[in-house]
């Protein structure tokens, strides 16, 4: 795998050198847009959704971008790493920041070693075990705020890095590892998109820096819009369906739609984070594509949290499919899809464990992933049988969007209920009220 960080003596033929063209007018336009986006962010008090950390990340990112834009290519990514690492103790605390970096370096040394992959994975798991114990019960000498950070940084990115490590032709570079695992916006947001290692490496200045930054500002604007709508809709982050507040079918419908739109918080956050990373030259793809316009369940799965879907495709779906395809192409795809949903459920529960300290084992959660998985598998089987039909247009597409929205609204209301009893109480509001 090629490294993206140029050495100090980067060859003049590196195409990225030409992409670092600096233009004061372009810079002024970019900074102006960024200031406007952050002003809207502040006016809507969106930082209050996440605590002060994100606002400090915003200010650091803006200042960091102002320097990054003018730096020569060879200093650009080292600047991002230095900024991210120096902000870590400020935003996460000195002890937690130091431990996080230390644990990361241990993971890197294990991964970089010349050991067989199974030994690298085994040793990594040996380091993970005390982290799990630390999150569950606490470990003397370790700050409590360290464990959510460990989960946020390493739970998904480490498996991706180890997977890619297996296929690297040269030993991995520490700088690439640091740029991947220690990203500045992560210190303000623990719920972080699952950025792919190879995509991040390959995307660095894949286009002119001004164009990448402009794309980032669009993503930031999209994120601010989603979050602003979310805040207006809820005015708080503690919305749960309450059957005692439902007075009729329209109120029930409004409540269920509101619960589904809770997801705007996540889509907005991820758009915003990716936008911040794009300011530093990472030409990353969008995390969501108009998910409210999904016209089928497979379409939904492909539009919502695309980074998660790609993570599952890379680590579960492709490996299973390629292993099983000799037993039948379609059968292998559907079986691999089933496994993707089992792993998705488990990893979401594990993520909840690291972020909150409790392993999410709720009947409605298990039912949600089971039903969604079965429906996506059924949808996939239909698509495979039909062959490559053109995507629906016009009325068919409209009906598809309406049907998918209705189904997901119903499923989401179940997912967000604490138990089936609560959900049935909500749906039979006349009985409860």
């Amino acid at each position: 795998m090629p490294s993206t960080m140029p050495s100090p003596g980067a060859p003049p033929s590196d195409p990225r050198l030409a992409r670092c063209r600096r233009d004061p007018r372009e810079f002024a336009l970019l900074i102006g847009q960024l200031a406007l986006a952050l002003l809207v962010f502040w006016v809507f008090r969106l930082h209050e959704l996440f605590g002060d950390g994100l606002w400090r990340v915003n200010l650091l990112s803006a200042a960091g971008f102002a320097v990054h834009y003018w730096l020569p290519l060879r200093f650009k990514e080292p600047w991002f790493i230095a900024l991210s690492l120096s902000a870590l103790p400020w935003l996460a605390g000195i002890a937690a920041g130091a431990w996080l970096l230390g644990i990361g370096l241990v993971f890197f040394v294990i991964g970089r070693s010349a050991l067989a992959q199974r030994w690298r994975v085994g040793l990594t798991l040996l380091v993970v075990v005390p982290c799990v114990i630390g999150r569950a019960r606490g470990l003397p000498g370790f700050p409590a705020e360290l464990w959510p950070l460990v989960g946020s940084v390493f739970l998904f990115r480490l498996p991706i890095w180890l997977y890619d490590r297996r296929h690297m032709r040269a030993p991995p570079r520490l700088a690439d590892f640091l740029a991947y695992c220690f990203m500045l916006p992560n210190w303000g947001l623990l719920l972080f998109p699952v950025v792919d290692f190879h995509t991040q490496r390959k995307s660095f200045l894949a286009r002119e820096q001004g164009k990448v930054a402009q794309e980032g500002l669009l993503s930031i604007a999209r994120g601010v819009l989603h979050l602003a709508i979310y805040v207006r809709l809820y005015n708080s982050d503690a919305v749960a369906p309450d059957p005692f507040e439902i007075t009729g079918p329209l109120a029930l419908l409004a409540c269920m739609v509101r619960v589904y739109l809770l997801y705007l918080r996540l889509s907005g956050t991820f758009h915003f984070v990716i936008g911040l990373l794009q300011l530093f030259g990472y030409d990353l793809p969008p995390t969501h594509r108009a998910w409210l316009l999904s016209s089928s369940l497979t379409d939904f799965w492909r539009r919502i949290n695309i980074y998660w879907k790609d993570f599952m495709v890379k680590l579960v779906w492709f490996p299973c499919y390629f292993r099983w395809r000799r037993s039948g192409d379609h059968r292998a795809q559907i079986a691999a899809t089933a496994l993707v949903f089992v792993v998705t459920w488990f990893l979401h529960a594990a993520q909840t464990f690291f972020l909150t300290g409790t392993f999410l084992l709720r009947e409605t959660d298990v039912a949600f992933w089971s039903i969604l998985g079965l429906l996506v598998m059924g949808n996939l089987a239909l698509e495979l049988r039909r062959g490559s039909a053109a995507p629906p247009v016009g009325l068919r597409r409209g009906l598809g969007i309406a049907g998918t929205f209705t189904l997901l609204t119903l499923l989401w209301s179940m997912w967000n209920s604490q138990s089936f009893d609560d959900w049935f109480d909500l749906l039979t509001w006349w009985r409860v009220g």
Binding site: M1, T199, K202, D310, F318, Y321, R323, D329, L384
Partner: protein, 87 residues
Amino acid sequence: MTPTPDAIEYELRRYLLAEFLPGESPANLRDDTPLRTGGILDSVATLKVVSFVEQSFGIEVEAHEAGVEHFDRIVDIAALVRRKRGR
């Protein structure tokens, strides 16, 4: 018959246009157009391209080679084909 280097890109472009971009102007599908990250190919569609590549160019693609690294742009797929055929 062994396809010439340019023929690999040509065959891929022809296949992608016919299968996934019907009606699209060939000029809009460049060798560096992002296919996976640009939303043209999803994971199921990628497997179709994998099958096409395996059958057309006589290579076998492995799981880790089906990702964005090798299947995001025509130029990447062609490079993979050349590398595997050169073994």
